[in-house]
């Protein structure tokens, strides 16, 4: 599904990613953990095509196709979804209208007709039920005045609507109370299939109790310094990141 080789990226001439190698297969869940400043959010931004970051070498392939030269919307059309740590507020544009536009732009790019209104409504109903989203919420302006939890739930709702091949959840657990966390995690678990893949980026182990990863990678100083299974997350929770740093530096 996703294959990253020797990825280097910088922002304002400062190297942030210094040779990332990562392969995520369909049906898998990968967690990327690491201390603050390790480059976790940069990695997700670079995969999604944020032009603030300059990719200086390496490759990013999605289903065997190099997407590293594509615009962010083209990567989205190819099936990349990034759940934002800080979703943006857009006054005057309702959640429903925003998601309709997103879906139809994606269909347009694939040469498909717009989704018929009745199918769209049906899908919105299904997915909002799945994520226990109040219907009233859908006619509110996107993210405007939403609580932290509502914003994150709205991100996962959009993910459910867009049905990406690769979903990257960037610090989705931050700002969530335990109930919201459970709802969001359940949503992700229900959307998981053998045909898609999920990359969870998190600082803490908490979310991984609900979304159980097949692999856990530890990112430090722009490189993946350790890879293990779900038990690695528990070990990090217990011991912190210092031993990883020491190991990496020695």
């Amino acid at each position: 599904m996703l294959k990253i080789e020797n990825l280097h990226a910088q922002v304002e001439d400062k190297d942030i990613l210094k040779g990332i190698n990562l392969e995520v297969k369909a049906g898998e869940v990968h967690a990327i953990m690491g201390p603050n400043g390790a480059g976790k959010s940069t990695l997700s931004s670079v995969i999604a095509g944020n032009e603030t970051y300059e990719m200086t070498s390496g490759s990013i392939e999605l289903e065997g196709v190099d997407i590293s030269e594509l615009a962010p919307e083209e990567r989205a059309h190819a099936g990349v979804f990034l759940s934002f740590q800080y979703p943006v507020e857009i006054p005057g544009v309702t959640v429903t209208n925003f998601i309709k536009t997103a879906i139809n732009e994606s269909r347009k790019a694939k040469g498909l007709e717009e989704m018929p209104a009745k199918d769209m409504l049906k899908k919105i109903r299904e997915k909002s039920e799945l994520l226990e989203i109040d219907r009233k919420f859908l006619s509110r302006s996107l993210n405007e005045g939403f609580s932290g939890g509502e914003k994150k739930r709205n991100e996962i709702f959009q993910m459910a609507m867009l049905e990406p091949k690769l979903a990257i959840l960037d610090e989705t657990d931050s700002g969530l109370d335990i109930d919201a966390l459970r709802i969001v995690a359940n949503g992700v678990n229900k959307l998981k299939s053998k045909d898609n893949a999920v990359v969870v980026i998190t600082h803490y182990q908490r979310l991984l109790e609900y979304i159980v990863p097949d692999y856990v990678h530890v990112l430090h100083n722009g490189k993946i310094v350790k890879t293990g299974d779900a038990s690695l997350a528990l070990e990090l929770e217990e011991k912190g990141y210092d031993w990883i740093k020491e190991e990496a530096n020695s």
């Binding site: 931004s45 999604a48 095509g49 944020n50 032009e51 603030t52 615009a71 962010p72 919307e73 990567r75 989205a76 059309h77 990349v80 979804f81 990034l82 934002f84 800080y86 979703p87 943006v88 857009i90 006054p91 005057g92 544009v93 209208n97 925003f98 998601i99 309709k100 536009t101 997103a102 879906i103 139809n104 732009e105 994606s106 790019a109 717009e114 959009q158 867009l162």
Partner: protein
């Protein structure tokens, strides 16, 4: 001949067309003298520092446009908010078009200023209100000197006008270039309510310079909602001078949508003559090319316990230039004033310019006055967010600009006007988004 000389020498000919033995004409003659003394504004005047009329004053305007032109409804229908039932006061080249208009005298007067000038029964009203709140500056004086036609709206007390009134000025441009001086007088008595939509439209590629004056009187507890749609072609310039006098407990809102034209100057002046008055001034400006839009607002808080709310949003592309000069005066007596002013601008191009100047003069000591002014670019992170959801850059940009302007749109009370403005914004931004913005 210079335009000023041409105007002065045309006055004799103008006098042939009006009743010169009247108090009204005395006002006109005095105004002409005032204009003669002051001339056109130049950049040397503080209030005109960033707006030069030089380029448009060079045109050889006809002062009395051909008055025999007519237009077909089919050709101009799109300039009306035609989706709703409304009263219409329509002028073609400065002359009233009964064919395109729909006026009334049924329980209220929605008609012509020329009719109000000529009929005895209107004399007391004209005497009481005409030229009473208008400032005697150069361009207003010029308009007053030639004041003969425009909309006359008089809403008696307790009348809620059941449908909006549209005032539309068309210029057919059959002459080489035309100068128009429309004059509107609007009186809304106690507890009455009216909604007005105003538009100027050039139908030709010849130049037109419109120097409009509108006086609005809102009596106790009256409500006026006024919408100015400025989306003219690149040969049309407009100086809009609007003066509003409010009595106690009245509410008046003016929304100005400036989307096109050559040079557009809005002089919007509010005078609060009682307590518990609310004045609302809002605007969206979206321009490109070499267009220029200047908003000069004045809110004069004279009495205690009043409010004013200003919110102007501007988006400037290419080499376009904008001015926002928002003056708020809080006089010594005007304690407990709550004056709010917000002006946010986005420059899309490196070559675009905005001159923004909040100007607060506060002489009372127990007031709440806030102002904020920003000039910036679109938020890259927000753009990336929308692109990440599959929305192409151009559409994402448009959505962001729409969101930026939305605080102004929100307060538009006529849904069809809101719809039209959103459509104009979408056209302006060159996008066709899958839902009605």
């Amino acid at each position: 001949m210079e335009l000023r000389e041409k105007i002065l020498s045309s006055y004799v000919a103008f006098e042939d067309s009006v009743n010169i033995n009247s108090d009204l004409h005395e006002i006109r003659t005095k105004a002409l003298q005032n204009f003669e003394k002051l001339g056109f504004p130049t950049k040397k005047l503080e209030a005109w520092k960033y707006t030069s009329l030089n380029s448009i004053l060079k045109e050889d305007y006809s002062i009395f446009p051909d008055r025999d032109s007519s237009v077909e409804l089919a050709d101009v229908k799109k300039y009306f908010i035609h989706e709703i039932d409304s009263y219409k006061i329509v002028f073609v080249d400065g002359k009233y078009s009964s064919f395109l208009s729909s006026t009334t005298h049924d329980g209220k007067d929605v008609c012509l200023l020329s009719a109000a000038f000529s009929k005895d029964k209107y004399r007391p009203v004209i005497e009481k209100y005409f030229n009473k709140v208008a400032k005697q500056d150069n361009l207003t004086s010029l308009n007053t000197a030639f004041a003969s036609e425009g909309a006359f709206i008089h809403i008696p007390k307790n009348v809620e006008v059941e449908k909006p009134i549209q005032i539309i000025n068309f210029n057919t441009g059959k002459e080489n270039a035309a100068m128009l001086q429309p004059r509107n007088l609007i009186i809304v008595e106690k507890n009455a309510h009216v909604q007005i939509i105003e538009r100027h439209q050039n139908l030709n590629s010849n130049a037109v310079l419109t120097n409009a004056v509108t006086e609005i009187f809102t009596d106790t507890h009256a409500t006026v909602d006024y919408y100015k749609i400025q989306n003219d072609n690149e040969n049309a310039s407009l100086v809009d001078n609007t003066y509003i006098e409010q009595q106690k407990e009245s509410t008046c809102s003016v929304h100005t949508f400036s989307f096109g034209g050559n040079i557009t100057r809005n002089n919007l002046n509010f005078y609060q003559k009682g307590e518990h008055i609310n004045s609302i001034l809002k605007g969206i400006t979206i321009i490109e090319g070499k267009q220029h839009v200047d908003h000069h607002t004045l809110v004069n808080h004279i009495e205690p316990n009043c409010e004013s709310h200003q919110d102007y949003k501007g988006i400037y592309a290419d080499r376009s230039t904008g001015v926002f000069n928002g003056k708020v005066i809080v006089e010594k007596e005007a304690q407990k004033t709550n004056a709010y002013q917000q002006n946010n601008n986005i420059l899309i191009s490196d070559k675009a310019t905005i001159n923004a100047k909040p100007q607060l003069e506060i002489f009372a000591d127990d007031v709440k006055c806030s102002h904020g002014c920003t000039i910036g670019q679109l938020d890259d992170q927000a753009l990336f967010y929308m692109q990440q959801r599959g929305i192409p850059k151009k559409e994402a940009n448009a959505l962001l600009m729409y969101a930026f302007a939305n605080t102004v749109l929100e307060s538009v009370k006529i849904p069809e006007v809101k719809k039209r403005i959103t459509k104009l914004i979408a056209n302006k931004l060159g996008v066709n988004i899958g839902f009605e913005l």
